[in-house]
């Protein structure tokens, strides 16, 4: 799914579902993968910016079925891979099989479930395999090599490397932990690896790709634009993604 890829994240339904489609189409002009956050009442791995995005989306009345419909509509315009990112409860509440099959039928290519570690993922993995849903597990700087191998094994699409100890949010510099983790992952993981958390500038994208990442995820830096411009963010998003993309050819 990824090779020198720019992966862009927004929260579905922020500030409303109609705007989200417009934003996805804007991102699509320069992004290789679109990562769509499923809004959740308690996004405990997210920093302030994405927390507020979750809140705005829920306040606008965004439902899980709206997220599926959003992907379905996007599919009428584009074949760019779409990955859902969210917390486990909304998946569990629908029933894992129902959720995965609906996501697949809507055109979703992969899923990231932030608070579902390997130990709890047996049923989820079996169902994703059955429906051909790509799985993406996260690894952190403190993930040991043996566990990294298991995460590689469980991730059918790619492995998501968290660049630091902390929550999502734009930072000025990429943590040195990110480069150590890429190095460790490159010698252990066979699947492609994407790096996220704290990435906000074209230089970050360039440095991470140069260090061996197959993809780079930018989230909060885009969601900040939506926080500022609301429904009218499409143009600014497009500009930002174009700018980030320049990091791939620097």
């Amino acid at each position: 799914m990824i090779d020198r890829a720019l992966i862009t994240f927004i929260t579905a339904g922020d500030p409303n579902i109609k705007a989200s489609l417009e934003f996805m189409l804007a991102l699509d002009k320069y992004a290789d993968v679109i990562e769509l956050g499923i809004p959740f009442s308690d996004p405990m791995a997210d920093g302030k910016v994405i927390q507020k995005a979750n809140h705005r989306a829920l306040k606008a009345g965004t439902r899980i079925k709206d997220v599926f419909n959003l992907v379905k509509e996007f599919r009428e315009h584009s074949n760019t891979p779409v990955v859902l990112m969210g917390y486990y409860n909304p998946v569990y509440k629908q029933g894992v099989e129902r959720f995965v099959s609906k996501a697949k039928a809507s055109g979703v290519d992969g899923m990231i479930v932030v608070d579902l570690p390997l130990e709890e993922a047996e049923e989820y993995l079996a169902i994703c395999e059955r429906y051909g849903m790509g799985t993406i597990f996260l690894a952190a700087p403190n993930t040991g090599e043996e566990r990294l191998r298991m995460i590689d094994e469980a991730s059918s699409a790619f492995v998501y490397l968290i660049s630091l100890y902390g929550i999502t949010g734009a930072r000025d510099r990429v943590s040195s932990l990110a480069f150590e983790l890429i190095k460790k992952a490159k010698s252990t993981v066979r699947k492609p690896v994407a790096v996220g958390f704290g990435v906000s500038k074209p230089e970050h994208v360039r440095d991470l790709i140069e260090a061996g990442a197959d993809g780079v995820v930018v989230g909060s830096a885009l969601v900040e634009i939506i926080e500022k411009y609301g429904e009218d963010s499409a143009y600014e998003l497009e500009k930002k993604v174009k700018n980030l993309r320049s990091g791939l050819v620097l």
Partner: protein, 385 residues
Amino acid sequence: MKFGEFGGRFVPEVLIPPLEELERAYEEIKKDEEFQRKLAYYLKHYAGRPTPLYFAENLTKKVSGAMIYLKREDLLHSGAHKINNTIGQALLARYMGKSRLIAETGAGQHGVATAIAGALFGMKTEVYMGSEDVERQRMNVFRMELLNAKVHAVESGSRTLKDAINEALRDWVASFEVTHYLIGSVVGPHPYPTIVRDFQSVIGRETKRQIIEMEGCLPDCIVACVGGGSNAIGIFHPFIKDKVKLIGVEAGGEGIEKGRHSASIVAGEKGILHGMLSYFLQDEDGQMLTTHSIAAGLDYPGVGPEHAYLKAIQRAEYVTVNDEHALKAFVELSKTEGILPALESAHALAYAMEIAREMEKDEVVVVNLSGRGDKDLEIVRRELK
């Protein structure tokens, strides 16, 4: 690691190593005589254990039914059972070489108990508290600050306990190398529900010894309030294999039918939050609902996984008492026995009085009086007007 299908470890990957470290350290200190001796020392000489088991004779006469006994956790230093756990976990944190404690708090009782432990053992302490609770419990905020803890008002989500836990977890993923997250109830990812239960089980062990001394038999029934469920598990656990009826009382708020309550076992559904599979109050998309109780310490949309399990295997029974009845019990105990109970504990008391009335005079009901009511005077005064 699990209680039947409940519990587990549903956390972001970065927290797996710190939880494994905590589990290993906890297994070590369980067998460490020096640690256990220290814990017993502080519980006795600092916190004030054992707490009395008191026969509430006046209340028993008034109710005219089974004998009502009160386990007086309200007499502990800090005014509630929370300190049993904070002293234990702070010692554990020190054993692990951590220098900083973080905690969540709802009403402020656990925050105060953590700040006390932090001051006692010379550890930097920071407490997360929903901004709505900061407003409701000003005195406890001041108390924590006097105890040298830093209080962070949490502005996200519903601005209550649930959001304070989210914020503490966010702190922990960035700070676990030097920080211990001191969870205040039998909730959270494994091994927290087990650790907190073990530290709180001192309540039930003492109760067992005391009731045998006083009545020569085990009680017929034990009643405790359940928010996250730490005081309830603490008194239930040593009786689980005995023929004793165990009843957990959840907050019925303004009434279950009105939707404004905190009764996660009685009215919730299975779900996953804060690292555990348990019962939660949530909508059909799995979004957590805002809860309500007159008792801030019960104002949480989930419940500890071991309670979910005890319910599933029908070993314990879970019921609700609403705001109004809890308030009545608060007033009743104050007048008849000269004891002001915490509004949380008043829920258990209200239910115990109700069932004692229907029981025989030689039967025994034990209520876990988990905290004292001083912190609730403002609320009670407003409600009684």
